[in-house]
Symmetry: D2
Subunit: 421 residues, 4 copies
């Protein structure tokens, strides 16, 4: 969770934000059946119902129980069921068992949300005390993270089903009259610079503190690696060439039998993929996605190139506008790059970096439950930057540090190349 | 499946039976939500929705597609989804993935049932050809097996849920004014006798052929082992005494951490258990259930006794009336024995025997898909006899051979002791 | 262990037998290095050094400590290290860790053997008390069982080594001028007969008590299934045809990737196999060996036949001479059948039967440690009969019941077909 | 392997070094039996015989086969058996199977060493061509790494044995008259500095290239954390307090049941530990060792402190003398700190840093087999610095980057605390 830096959320804008974010979550789950919302398709994923309840539990436990006098919890069994991983906040239902909860049903969880939303409205309408406002802001950013997870988890669930349901109706992709712009390399001089969140607006704790870091001169690709380029890698035997791979990566690829990105299937000689819009032909010009860090690194090796460090990525991105193909486009798939300059930094796919998730110099986790938010995950995971096609647009920024284990593939994860100058 | 022996089902009674059995399945699933009917709680169990569809697929594939001219399958993707294990009938969805099928939803499966029922009504109303009638009879017996499995699977699912849902409302157990009758030993002389199904009415293929077997003089307990007696076993250290156990049983008990029957929990010093009527105190006089063969055998060893062979059981039961606490009582839990004679042979709990599931002398599986029904399971499993509190009463008989692997506990399985004379 | 029936071993012959059996074990291990004797190649197998020590521990613990006044154990750490599975006799080193014991070294174990042999000589020379003699006889039969295991375990170890060491020098097989006799079927009328050990000479407890069993008329093959016949099964797709297999067998075959018997490898289009005489071409006329019960059953199914029951096997064998290709021939591989009558019943390969290992009617295990010898293995295992090419010839008899889990393949296990008449 | 930087080894000193290093390996294995040298106690460890052969294979394959005209490989099966992980150099025996190689026996491997040493002597005596000298230097450094691994692997093997063999005789620890010096904090100003190997003498490729890095002001502990301090952590419930641990660390600790460092056992209320000098009481003032990164990090958290980064460690160490308790002391155990200044940087225990093993800016692996030496391990591992009590003293330097997965404990790994200024 956040150390809050200097974030001082304004009450009024926070009330609006609260309504927007909470409504957005409901919009995303609107077409899901009770069963869709209940099943857990793997240990990494959580049921949609669980996401709906857990984000609500967060407001109830950390804010309402502490700050709203006379608040009564909706159901005293829920804290056990919907705590995720906060050791500080007591025992909890084991993660791999989340999909066993056919009860409470989806409607009861929606009632839970209404109940908590009403109580939050009451609390937020009492303007006298505002020291909980940073927690509200944190809760909303937390919920936005779960919006993205909810979508990637539903995609994973639907991908297990031989009848391949559509989360949203398949729409014909816009005819791509525009040729994909050529890949350019953008050069940066680097130097000793400050990194991390500057203190205005919200940020998670792991984005700080601001600190100096030396970055050597480098260049970075103008766009992400595309599906067409990835098919070249496949056809050149990339998945069968051990020397391209990290040792742990090669072992994983063999054990798991990887020969293409997650969700890819060959059908009548052409590659198709499961998407949130059903089973679709691969869009050759769009960024490759659903690849692990191990695959991204092997590809970079194959190209005689490398992945950027997170410092390089942040250095290259900090002056760029915060715009791209994100959740609000409702495309729900990565889109081809356009324009000649550097593009696709925000949205489309999270970009694997060569930086492991480590504490920034001077980082100390907060005390209590919110201290468990990020710090305890700082081993064995790899930083991704820039957001994806299912990231809420007001959730991302140049300093945002996402992280996953290097073998994970169910997020919208892709890559962009970099090289030394 | 059945070799049919001499079973010649009558058309009229079969039509009635068809309506009854199919309606009964629906009754059992009436209170289940879409999510309840979808989740698979372990590899051994199947979702209720799957049971509903698979039993329907059986009629569609083996009867309608073969015998009803012009029949069109309801959905051509279903045979892949709802075939259980018939290698002869093509590829199928992997068993451990059955719980991933949030679509088709429960309502669609109910439509599937109606569609197939209508087609079956059409077929059965055409009286000219009747050579498929034995298959109808088989299909109904097959569906009754799945009625029992559906209930044991739902119990397993609900038992995983910390809020412990009730499948049917908890009702106060009838006050047990009657003292539990004392345990008597009933003696039998044995001899060289015929065993197996005699050929009247329906039976599964593994119940035949009739064959001679010599049974030495033995005695058998008048009732099943009770929960109170099982608690004595626990308190005497039965679960910690390796020398009471079969070698594979002890290894399993250690790996799984068994210290009581499945679903038992100690609460404020007393034993409780999850049941189809919710979380309930143990009924001390009722037969113990949800125990493995390994536990049953260890208990018998503890008592200096043994389990009966399936021949002894059949010998003792063949003259007894086919009555007991079965599905029609709607109790859904085993009940204490009453009366002085031999009791509880049918219903209450399936009784583990010391007989492995082997082919009877002269047994040959049928050709084609129905030949896969029983024969291919004749290794590593143990025979249980007599039906349980959730067995449909017209489904059981003295020659019925049920079988499960010796470590399985989620069925209503219990035991009755026997000894040599 | 044995219930002893009426076995009354004579002192003098037992002394000779003791010397012979103990010397034979040493002969078998003569060419093994310290490392050969130490490594454990899988959990089922034990190091040769462990076999040497465990058989010695048996005499020390059950006889010397009890019957030889003033006996001092050789090393007080050994009972923990070399107890196999006797819960009654205290804690022991975990089976999968047996290969970690690089110390005590082989020479120390040989000293241990000498020390115990000397003490046994002392004990046996004091003729006054003889109530331990049945235990000596049991210990020697126990050691003979371990002689066979020692060889199968060494073969398994050497088969893991890419340089494929020879246990004994490869010798050219005798030129097989004699054509393999045609397969005949020998018919038996069956009837109600007595089975089990008759009470003269030594037998293990599970071979009794004598009891009546009805056997229906049957016929049995005159010889075992050969390697040439097995290759037909392979080439006919036997390993890819699910409908031939038991359900558990098919699952095992898929998981383990079986496509031929254990140790078989194809080299330049011909089948070779690892043997105790090194890597050798398959002897086409010899019985197939190193197959599981699951494979044996699938083969029988493929031939429209079946495996014999253990009663049928015993019925067919009881009048046959106790002779065959066993350990004393030092061939160490199965040999082709000769002659026209029933052959290969004893020696060559253990023959899988369709009988699970169950207690005979009236069987009760002995009290104490020796009661753990057989009874606790009576679940999930399958009976094999007749001994193999590495069974000591004075160890086998028509009533001998060997047993292994149905998926095991490292013993010299093969099959002979049977059919109903 | 090394990029060689500017290393230009002199022929004469290299010949001496070759003789020394090769002799040292033999000295270490002198007291091992054939069995000791053969068994593999876990997948991470290798048999001593394998270390002896693999280091020899390195010279044979990379140098003799390439540079010595007319060289004949000792045994053409060995390259398959003794290649470790070089995909470039062909297929190899699977790592987990290394312990199955009872043949070739230890003596044959010693012959292999002599044969290769003779050929190396021949090659090195021909002074005309010297372009292979960097490979000789690499081979010797490679062998020194395996000297340390050989000792940690033997310790692991002996620790599995209930009789707890001594690798070297137990000697009474020197009476510790000197009180352990108090823990001091040494402060450093940091700044933008150059890091990595400077180019004189040998270094592995991952130690370069030299590059700038900014280090913020910090302080570092004058000595390593001691066993006495670790016992405080245990007694304060450190192993039961989830909030102290990294998330992956806590999961590992629970799964593995950690409650003390590897090899620790409580005996009559006091802690003992398996060592290369047998089972010994814990030396309270000596550095704790055989801990994972996860434990080190939890301890730092417990103390409100943190681990140093590898840059901080290198910054603090570069001016310190290269001396300490290493392999040449033959103590084979960590020793208590002495003196008031910063101590124990070199030798005693490898010190976990908070830096994951990542490529230095500008790092590119070499082409061919030697490019596989380090680069492919740059994911999921953590940097350790400074060498241990079993590191050859001329093998270590301030820039040396050792790395292991964060859950590994069988190395002599410990920790030193650091804090921000």
């Amino acid at each position: 969770m956040n150390k809050k830096f200097d974030s001082k959320p304004k009450l009024q804008s926070l009330v609006e934000q609260f309504n927007d974010v909470r409504a957005q979550t409901l919009t995303l789950t609107q077409k899901l059946s009770d069963a869709d919302a209940t099943v857990q398709s793997m240990e990494d994923a959580s049921p949609a119902k669980w996401h709906l309840a857990h984000t609500t539990w967060f407001f109830e436990t950390l804010i309402l129980c502490e700050y709203l006098d006379g608040y009564t919890v909706f159901d005293k069994r829920y804290p056990f069921l919907f705590n995720s991983y906060y050791e500080t906040l007591g025992k909890r239902h084991p993660r791999p068992q989340r999909g066993m909860l056919t009860r409470p049903c989806l409607d009861e969880i929606l009632n839970y949300r209404s109940y908590v939303d009403d109580a939050m409205e009451t609390l937020l309408s009492r303007s006298s005390k505002v020291d909980f406002l940073p927690l509200v802001e944190l809760g909303l950013n937390h919920e936005q993270q779960h919006q993205e997870l909810l979508l990637t988890d539903i995609l994973h669930l639907f991908a297990q089903n031989p009848i391949k349901p559509e989360f949203r109706p398949a729409i014909p992709l816009p005819v791509q009259n525009l040729a994909l712009p050529a890949l350019n390399w953008i050069e940066f001089e680097g130097g000793l610079e400050k990194f991390g969140h500057t203190g205005e607006g919200f940020a998670f704790d792991a984005e700080g503190p601001i600190h100096q870091q030396y970055v050597a001169p480098f260049k970075i690709a103008s766009r992400c690696v595309t599906n067409a380029e990835w098919i070249e890698f496949i056809e050149a035997g990339g998945y069968e060439t051990a020397t391209l791979w990290l040792s742990d990566g090669w072992a994983t690829a063999q054990t798991e039998g990887w020969d293409a990105p997650l969700y890819w299937e060959k059908k009548d000689g052409a590659w198709w993929s499961m998407t949130l819009r059903g089973f679709q032909p691969i869009d050759l010009d769009a960024p490759v996605t659903h690849i692990s860090y191990f695959e991204a690194d092997a590809y970079a090796h194959f190209k005689g190139s490398r992945l950027p460090s997170e410092y390089e990525w942040e250095h290259a991105s900090r002056s760029q506008p915060l715009e791209g193909n994100m959740l609000e486009t409702n495309r729900l798939r990565p889109a081809p790059a356009t324009g000649e300059g550097i593009s696709q930094l925000f949205g489309d796919v999270w970009e694997w970096t060569q930086s492991p998730f480590s504490p920034y110099p001077g980082f100390k986790p907060a005390h209590g439950a919110i201290g468990e938010y990020n710090g305890k995950f700082m081993s064995g995971q790899q930083i991704l930057r820039g957001g994806s096609c299912v990231t809420p647009p007001n959730h991302i920024r140049a300093t945002y540090r996402n992280f996953f284990h290097p073998q994970k593939r169910w997020q919208f994860s892709g890559l962009r190349l970099a090289e030394d100058l």
